[in-house]
């Protein structure tokens, strides 16, 4: 089962997600990147139905880019989150997307922010959020150790604690995780936490 979680620090936000792509009992790959960079200063970690996740996140990413092309300025994180909620809400009673989203971004005036959007389009701005079976462990660990205005080192330490907890306590625990960070310098990949490495595929 997929786990995604995120938290807000002093001037940054972090989103971490597991990286296993699973179909019934088979693990297709263990280095699937589930956190998409929407634009220079926004991240969207998603979990849920694989096809829906890939399609919907790409759809949002392209629409965020389109807004910037049309209007000359990028969307704020709040606007992007509300747009995403709107798309999920419109599709909800026709053809719902089974995708849970944690959107993180950094805006000049507001600073870092994190939005929780679940698959039935409930939107809430939070300091820490998590989805999946891993959320039971993630939320508890974050409730215990999270403080406002943590530094990057402290936040990564907390993320590692959460990953450790998920690995040791969840019965079908995902082996690998990806961690991405967004701050005033932009959104980027921070690290991978791997305990299983896929065999490298030779380039054709």
């Amino acid at each position: 089962m997929e786990s995604v979680f995120g938290l807000v620090g002093k001037d940054f936000a972090i989103v971490a997600a597991d990286s296993s792509a699973v179909h019934s009992i088979l693990v297709h790959k263990t280095n699937e990147d589930k956190i998409m960079l929407l634009d220079s200063h926004k991240l969207m970690g998603a979990s849920g139905e694989t096809g829906d996740r890939a399609q919907f996140t790409e759809y949002i990413q392209k629409n965020v880019a389109l807004y910037q092309f049309r209007n000359g300025i990028p969307l704020t994180t709040a606007a992007a989150a509300n747009f995403t909620r709107g798309e999920l809400a419109t599709a909800l009673r026709k053809n719902p997307y089974m995708v849970n989203i944690i959107m993180a971004g950094h805006d000049k005036d507001v600073g870092p922010s994190l939005y929780f959007i679940d698959y039935i389009a409930s939107l809430h701005k939070l300091d820490k959020a998590a989805f999946g079976y891993g959320s039971y462990f993630a939320l508890s660990m974050m409730d215990r150790h999270y403080r406002k205005d943590m530094t990057v080192e402290e936040a990564i330490d907390l993320v590692d604690k959460v990953i450790m907890e998920i690995r040791s306590r969840l019965v079908v625990a995902p082996p690998n995780f990806v961690i991405k960070i967004v701050d005033k310098d932009g959104a980027r990949e921070y690290a991978w936490r791997e305990s299983i490495k896929d065999a490298p595929v030779p380039a054709v």
Binding site: R85, A89, R93, F116, D118, I120, A121, S122, H124, L139
Partner: protein, 191 residues
């Protein structure tokens, strides 16, 4: 709850998915205009969608009529919007409270398909509604001043949500008089 030329509207603050609590600062009472508030309990996504549609309709109304909507009219609007979705409803129970003509307090509630329930004293909605009916019935007195009304509604809210595992994590109370709106956060059993 209705008081003497004033009303109070209160909600809890929990956002949850069945047994898991997601947030403890979730806003359920929305302001439509200075003298009209709507509280939306039930499914969070439908509450947010419904609120956005209502604000849209009210803003259009304001542009056309050049005045705010009366609470009675607004209640009819909410009822119509909900009944539109009769066979695929919004899973929300609204509580509407406002000051109408001559600042006379107006309250009503509805079920999720828009059946209006007007009352002169108090209206309730949500998972703890049975508890709330009991608490309000025993604590309510007619013609309370704003301060006493605040105390009464707060006690009724907290004692009811404390017995409901899906409600709680504090309270949010608005007391509205013709001249001012007071917003207060309550701390109850945080569990």
């Amino acid at each position: 709850m209705v008081g003497k030329n004033c009303f109070a509207i209160a909600s809890d603050r929990r956002l949850g998915v069945q047994l898991q609590t997601i947030a403890t600062d979730f806003q359920k009472i929305y302001k439509i205009h200075e003298k009209l508030f709507i509280g939306l309990s039930g499914l969070a996504t439908d509450a947010q969608t419904l609120y956005q549609r209502l604000v849209f309709r009210h803003k259009l109304y304001e542009l056309r009529e050049e005045r705010d909507m009366k609470p009675e009219t607004f209640a009819s609007l909410v009822s119509a919007l909900l009944y539109e979705k009769r066979f695929g409803p919004y899973f929300c129970q609204p509580v509407i409270a406002g000051l109408g003509d001559e600042d006379k307090p107006f309250i009503c509630t509805m079920d999720s398909i828009g059946a209006k329930e007007l009352a002169k004293d108090f209206v309730v909605a949500g998972t703890a509604s049975e508890s709330l009916y009991g608490a309000c019935e025993s604590m309510f007195k007619p013609d309370m001043e704003p301060e006493e009304l605040f105390e009464t509604i707060s006690q009724a809210l907290l004692s009811s949500v404390d017995r409901d595992c899906l409600s709680g994590w504090g309270g949010h109370v608005y007391v509205v008089t013709p001249t001012e709106v007071t917003e207060r956060i309550l701390k109850g059993r945080m569990d």
